[in-house]
Subunit: 395 residues, 3 copies
């Protein structure tokens, strides 16, 4: 009885380097980045979730962060009082617009520079004006609040850490996106989202069957040429469309035929070929999803080693604000439920389904990748090379 | 104040070797076998729980195993796709009788040999026909599906790992047995089940009081002569009946008498003396339980280090199928509830009651065994000697 | 961007040694005492919670302890049978007044000396009269049952481990106190209870606003002179009142004034200046709380490293039993709910709010204490010096 898996043969190697990568695992920094890559920008929440004067705590890459909006601008500080480590967000107190006060002893910090500006219970304390908590650079764009987790000063431009196109002037981005906590490491989410063959899990999704679009069972990548986008000063990513791609419309299992639900050329069906690209630190864009002309933007933001925040929104290039508003309503009424509550749930199941193997077991060593995973190995190599720093506990 | 327990005296030693064993602990392999003994057969489920074409995942000794029935026969494979480690059983997919397909990317394995026979999302993959997942030998006998956890090829005969008599032609075995997950290590379950003195916990069980049988408070074993059964090619076990045994009918606590509920010779009560034996890897049989002529078969199948599956069924030697059916109905209507929901619950409490001391603390070193535990020390020594291999994480 | 906190300056140091202590952390034994200090007396329960003949299990400093009342007196033994480690308290069995019997095999111990006096399932066992489980000294005073956790023989007088005054003849102590389990290490509870500035969290508590008393925002301690009470044979504690204290009635945050709800001298308000002291091993007393002439006694009894039992009761010096009864009724009808369900909940939130920082993170190294924490650093130093021994796992 043969109980060990055989080693992959040369045939596999020649078709794209997956097997070669599988053997040598040229992504050691990626394997260490269970908490994410440091010194990058991450989306923390949607703008509408933080009203004027409001405070909210979020966990980003294992760090507790407090966000507060002051005169329209958002500021972020470490969400622990320097005194005894309690989280401001547990019982937010704000006596002035610029400050947050710790509910425990009244340590009051300016959220713009992190400086201790007052201690209510000891006003003449020598600590006032001297103690300072960490502040985080914040940028708010297109209805999302981005926080820079790291130490670089100044931080790199936000644009370097975003999916291209997101910030374009004509790109309307849906302000009422969705987010949920998923019980898997962020890397499993990124790899699932970018996976060229994972579309198999979606084949019966109401989103696809109702729109009668032709989704192949999988897509094999034969080449990595031109896939990687890594300009000196721009975002670092992998664009699937750049590789040679072969859609799979049917397969056979011991004589039984398995076919995509709708085949190309079939009457009454619509060709559907969204293009996917994956960007550091953790952002995906699907061009042409759910329909042509629409972009689905996703982020897999590390919360801790075993969970991530799955953030989704949509964009479309529009000529006017009226068109933008129409687009947002289209998402709300026609697409959001089908995507968020149906389609994406399959992805969530896949990410959580891998979690035990990778986080408790030695999945990173024992996995057996196949040709369509060329996208994933390219992503790992890119992240390994361009991920600025590895986030480590503790802060 | 004397706060350390005194060492056991010589008197204890001379009566059966318990104290001597207590000192020297001659069962180091048993202490390592928190996950069970490898290269043995284990019951995975009852036959009726797996219909034709059905798939089910079970955890055996820390290994995820998928069972599928094909044309009546049951096959078992590792319940993780070789690709990314997802469990087939999370969303079972079967396009053909012989195969199971991973719901994530369509990796399809023949369940009979574990070979990858197709990948739906990349039909021409070089992995097809080469990648193979572990398969497990399976045998189905007497309404139970047994799986061999190990590497021996061929595996030893199933008969060597079963309670003697179970497979006898005239032994009718109840197909609708019971199983439940219990939160204790499997060894604590085995030791509780085989314990000659643990019957004390059952003294007020409705099963016994309703049948008015005479159960002693405990049974002291004075001798280990002839207890161990370990023929070259047969099952390895300890038979309680082979040792000299003294039933305890009453005891005294500071002048207060404690007596068994029904005494032998008392009017209207029935003598009751079931005989118990314990067999590798984890099977018990109680001969004469719940009544003379009936056998209760039990297994304590390791799930992981802190839990086991408690499997119970019953047997009786019968001359015909009609008698067998009558027996099964007797179990269903008269005994099952009394045993499963009343009697066995005391055992479950005892196993879970020991768990913290043994699994979190150093109970294996600190326990103080007494004479009736001769059965337990003999079992430990037997398991230490004949347990084929120690199961270790990870697979 | 300045992201590291600045070191504390000399100004801080000169005012009481907090900053100096902060730097040198002269309390290494206190840092090790996550499970509490061994060889001290701890309150286990209120007398009324243990009726004649009753048994109860409690966890003290990680040790399971069984309490039983025999002819009025309370005895304590280790709550694990020496045989297989099951807890007596899981299914208490008592055949005689003096004994507890293990429900599993009938091992029966005299609770007064811990000796094994009988084994129901093996009456002639050589272990009888020889095996012995640990017993714990017990004293019952003022409606509370105290247990000595340690090895000293004889144990030091209970009086050394109690808040002064508690045992005074004229001190009526409410027998129906309260206790609850709180999810924080006991040291965080002690430090919160004794903290001179934590009163800020109580500023809107109905207890204070309904009684219209003047509570400052905080109290700054400028001196540690005379604070420590450490007589050779008496309790070891820190008395807040002994240090110079400056109440803070108002503070300013960027021009915004923050003031105590009621100011001294304001019409219709009552001056309110309870004095607090903290005593080894884990007892607090607030003199003048909730009103002048009443003492609130608290204990933070370690259960394990991450939780403690928060015990609260009240005392008042009274001339007669009639007055004592009147006092108890006043507590019941007027104060108990306001204190236990309102006021104390703020403290519980504070203790639990610090837990992650100190128990998962490196809070003991990263905290930034300020002047009012002089009380806390004095307490740490006292506990470091006079805590008799450090409790360690396992027993």
């Amino acid at each position: 009885m043969l109980q060990e898996e055989e080693r992959l043969g040369a045939a596999e190697t020649s078709e794209g380097g997956v097997a070669e990568a599988q053997r040598s695992r040229p992504w050691p920094r990626y394997l260490e980045a269970a908490l994410g890559f440091r010194n990058h920008w991450y989306p923390a929440l949607f703008s509408h979730e933080l009203g004027e004067g409001a405070c909210r705590g979020v966990d980003l890459l294992g760090e507790p962060v407090l966000l507060k909006r002051v005169n329209g601008a958002v500021y972020a500080v470490h969400d622990r009082c320097a005194h005894r480590g309690t989280r401001f967000s547990a019982r937010p107190e704000c006596y002035t617009a610029d400050t947050v006060t710790c509910w425990y002893h009244g340590f009051t910090y300016n959220v713009k520079d992190g400086r201790l500006v007052a201690i209510i219970t000891d006003p003449t304390s020598a600590l006032v004006g001297k103690l300072q908590i960490k502040i985080y650079p914040v940028q708010e764009r297109k209805g999302l609040v981005f926080v820079f987790i790291g130490d670089l000063d100044p931080p790199p431009p936000l644009e370097e850490d975003l999916q291209p196109g997101l910030l374009d002037a004509d790109m309307a981005v849906m302000p009422r996106g969705e987010q949920q906590v998923v019980a898997s490491n962020w890397r499993l989410a990124a790899e699932n989202g970018f996976d060229a063959a994972h579309i198999y899990i979606h084949r019966n999704s109401p989103l696809l069957t109702q729109t009668r679009v032709t989704l192949p069972l999988g897509a094999v990548m034969y080449s990595r040429e031109g896939m990687v986008v890594a300009e000196a000063s721009g975002p670092k990513g992998i664009v699937k469309g750049a590789g040679k791609r072969t859609p799979i419309w049917e397969a056979e299992i011991e004589g039984v035929k398995v076919a995509a639900r709708f085949q190309p050329g079939q009457e009454g069906v619509t060709p559907f070929a969204p293009d996917v690209s994956m960007w550091l630190p953790c952002g995906l864009v699907v061009d042409g999803f759910p329909i042509q002309g629409t972009y689905q933007f996703e982020w897999y933001v590390p919360i801790d080693e075993r969970s991530h925040r799955y953030v989704v929104t949509w964009g479309r290039r529009v000529p006017s604000e009226v068109e933008a508003e129409r687009f947002f309503q289209e998402i709300d009424t026609r697409w959001k439920d089908l995507i968020v509550n149906e389609f994406n749930n399959d992805d969530v199941a896949a990410r959580e389904g891998m979690e035990a193997f990778y986080s408790e077991g030695d999945g990173w060593q024992r996995e057996h990748l196949f040709r369509p995973d060329l996208l994933i190995t390219e992503w790992r190599k890119l992240a390994n090379t361009y991920g600025r720093d590895i986030q480590r506990r503790p802060l």
